[in-house]
Amino acid sequence: MEKIELNWKIAGKAGDGVMLAAKFFAKLCQHQGLKVFNYYEYPSLIKGGHQTGQVFASSEAAHCQRLHLDLLFLFHPKFLDFHLDALDEELLVLINSSNFDHSQYPQLKAKVISIPFSQLARQKVGDPLTANMMAIAASAKFFAFDLTKLTDLIKKEFVDKKKIIAKNLLAIDLACDYLDQSLSNSLIECRTKTLKIDQSRKKDLLLTANEAVGLGAIAAGLQFFSAYPMTPATGLLHYLAAQQAAYPIVVKHSEDEIAAINQALGASFAGVRAMTGTSGGGYALMVEATSLAGVAELPLVILEAMRPGPGTGLPTWSSQADLNFIIHAGHGDFPKVVFTPGTALEHYELSKLAFYIAEKHQLPVFILSDKYILESQQSMPQPDLLIDNQRLSLLDTVKTGSIEEKYLRYKDTETGISPRAIPGLNKEVYLANSYEHDQEGFATEESMIAKQAMDKRLRKIETMLPELPKPAVFGAPVKEADKILISFGSTINVLQELLRLLDDKEIAKPAIIHLPCVAPFLTKDFEELFDWHKINEGRQEIYTVEGTATAQLAQVLKANSRLRKIKSLLRYDGRPFYAEDLLQWLVSAKISEIYQIK
């Protein structure tokens, strides 16, 4: 199959239907058998502003958004100013307007066509909001997509809403007629892509990482989710709330984040797999209860969806700057786990693993991710759909010796894991305690008992190490590369795209290390990747590539490994890294001032 790649973008105000249009276009690409990445940018408001949906689709892999576009659809002519960087002679811009004044843009190389979709939608459909569907129809024609798929999508999206379906179908017909009659020549000239559909390809899912986390949670037997809405974690709340119709799950929209995490801990105590999700500010309110989970040894999974702080920050943009906050969150010493998945698939897999680790080791497990990947749609291979689940470390599943023996909920064991009774299911009763406690659960201030209790809990760290996801290496071998790039979380998507861009280039590829787990830090596995002779002689350049202003990942590496000389490539304006920018940096050692090298 020939290599196909396409880049498409739509821009409008909030309320124009940009996000739905982008979702539909991404779906059309998926149904063409392509891998898809769909990246949204939007301001924190409901009407107005400037928002975009951007789809990169490829017959090979679509790790992230790309800089250069094939087709750009603008709801309003003035938005052209926002996109001038991405415009070149191969690009076609469709502008939703009855006329466009070319004289205002003398330098413009891209071809611009104005199509009065909103006017058409208002006059002929009676609903200007259907202009977004016209944009999709025009885009589909441009890339020679099968339009019946679009019809199917509309029927599925607006199921039971017959009038809306009829309006949108009419809008598509009108758009196609208009294009055929008025613009056929110019559009055909511009048509650069013709797709041959590969039907043999194994089915992919197209979903946001929020949804991948939710799907992984359901796979792992999640039954209780309590949360307070906060961008960019809200997508998980919405997905799981909708799943209540299909699965034995209760989703509670709580009065605040403190209630959300405490309700989840209550549910966990009562024996169901429980989770909460929020962003940095909301999680700040949950910190005390995280420590409660630690001392009472209650399983809990927490999604922390990063956006830029401090304070309310940039609510709808991306960041990785809660890394140190989450690693250190919670007063006192207690074991916890912090997963930092990269791709949608890894979000699915680590979400499943998070529930397993949380229940087995009776502690809080974080999925630390960011707006960039949580709210972007990405293709992932369809996982096994039939899942077997087991209960772990419960009193019933653990041999406790003679029945007459007194039940010790916090029994001091070699692994640090003690059998957990479930109220109502076991006849044994116990006290889950926020105070330091003896093996039975009663509060204590005895020095030896307090030390023993702390040692027992911390022992779980050693026990769980073999079960945690190890650092992953891409590109050149770490021991041979001149340059080593280290990242955590979503950045790996861009770094993998960078490797693809390097396939056609003469430049040596860097080694790339992706960390899917930052706490407990897998020091041994990490250090084994390196040739320490070379490192100590300074023969390799090591960079972290991270969405923080203070090189937090570099700090983590210095604290947990023998690495000392680490430079960092940082971005902290809320936007993602672009593979094209990183390529330029590798080629020329120069990079736009949007980035910072430390």
Partner: protein, 285 residues
Amino acid sequence: MSIQIPDLLSPISPTWCPGCGNFSILTALKKALIELDLELKDLVVLFGIGCSGNMADFIKVNGFHALHGRAIANAIGIKLANHRLKVIVTGGDGDLYGEGFNHLLAAARGNHDISVFVHNNERYSLTTGQASPASKKGTVGKSTPQGVIEEAINPLALAISANASFVARAFAAQLQELVEMMKEAILHEGFSLIDILQPCPSFNKVQDNKWYLEHTRALKADYDLSNQEMAIKQVLKKGPIELGLFYRDQERPAYHQELAQLKNKSLVEQFPFKQDLNLGINDFV
């Protein structure tokens, strides 16, 4: 088998001050639990932080000694995970009317089937006697040497206006009345609140048992406890502090009773040992 006296026996003896109202509240709670036809395993008691919360160590039950102010939130999670459990929250006025009042109002609005017993001594006693939200204006304490400027809250009026379906006031020293009220509250299917007036002999010298006996009286026998509007008027009345059940709504379903997924089985009984993701991926294909 119903709960017997030895079942509830903890190895730890109470550490409260002589004359503390917590003794009688603990006795009343034990008596209520024994007299109700409950199984020990089907009961969870949550404890706040404070003198009253220390009760966690003095009674052997399925217990949850929560963070300060948060026991009601934990209780809601427990009830939704397994609604076959009887769930009781016990804590002080600082904990439940101060730090965690938001959770109390939310629980009342949701009519979550939990019973909240507030040990109200109008003080933060474990931290040596500062004024609480229930303290009268002018109360002098170490944190308010010139006297509290705020007016005391009226927890009953707030709970009734938040549509709590069982709102009562009791006095710790009237043991039998308290036991009966606790039993009614535990059996009530929905959110119940008992504001339990309690002397603090160490940090509230004025309001001792004698003071409470002089300043309280029972609600009239012909009081209509089904009228929400009247109930609010009744709890706002100046004069002697009235004791009894001010408002009860037995029609309103409890929160968990409105969830279709809990209709046949509790959540914990439905653990998905076999999970099928076909429905979960419906939007992604």
